[in-house]
Symmetry: C2
Subunit: 164 residues, 2 copies
């Protein structure tokens, strides 16, 4: 029916239950609520930060998550747009800075995020650009980093939940 | 020397080399450049999205990264601030929405991020609040999500790098 667009939305919900273990290790039970799929994810720190190096640090997981999120959408949307794509490689350079006064806890801030994307394809440059544009818009993590997000926190101390 | 603050900064750099493998799997070699430590991280999708479910999806890694980043700083800064902390648990609810017109690639957007933090400690509420405040400021991912970030992209097609 011309003029009537078939627009639908769907929600993507992930829940994580993280617990401290080891010296600095963190074990996280993750559920993709929409599909009921469950995953185990862990992080640790190296000895220099008091850990046992039993798993990658949190920012290594983030590096994997961001690059893989974009790559997954490139491959998924290539099929949908019928743009032929063989291999994809992404090189990510992710930079943060910490500022510390004396021996106080430091304050972190992002400095820059660069992604170099190498797409092995016989498609035209215009088609590849169209694909990458769609993948960036569909990448939930690019969309998240591209806006200011408020993270709400509640704190439980002595059995009481406190909104912060 | 009174009046002169000892302020120093240090850079945190992660590099990731991601390559497509399997049907939807993504293997990422991650290097923590500052320390030269190397890690392997992988993602995959479930069968419903054309994958082999051989690894968690990218947003599961992100759920682990965000919760573990905050938990790691809670534990690290507890030592530095001499605030006694036994176990820490964090429950995360991370929500996104996708909007799709017809069968076109969908567009993703963040909806909300909630973190419930349960700290097992004999410290006072004020000390725990001070600790959590420091951990939030020191958490590189909270700092990243709390501002608008520009992600720069370069695309290589046919041997040529193109700035986007």
């Amino acid at each position: 029916m011309p003029g009537v667009e078939d627009v639908k939305t769907f929600d993507i919900v992930f829940e994580g239950k993280a617990r401290s273990s080891g010296k600095m290790r963190c074990d996280v039970d993750v559920e993709f609520v929409t599909t009921k799929e469950k995953f185990s994810v862990a992080t640790d720190e190296g000895a220099i930060h008091g850990g046992d190096n039993s798993a990658p640090p949190p920012l290594a997981l983030f590096t994997g998550a961001l690059t893989a999120c974009l790559m997954t959408q490139i491959r998924a949307f290539a099929k949908r747009l019928q743009i032929p794509v063989a291999n994809v490689e992404i090189f990510a350079s992710l930079r943060w800075r910490a500022e510390q006064t004396g021996n106080q806890p430091y304050v972190g801030e992002p400095v820059g995020f660069d992604l170099d994307i190498d797409i092995d394809s016989e498609a035209s440059l215009d088609e590849i650009k169209q694909l990458l544009d769609a993948a960036r818009k569909g990448c939930f993590l690019e969309a998240t980093l591209g806006q200011t997000n408020e993270i709400s926190h509640r704190l439980r101390v002595g059995g009481e939940w406190i909104d912060l």
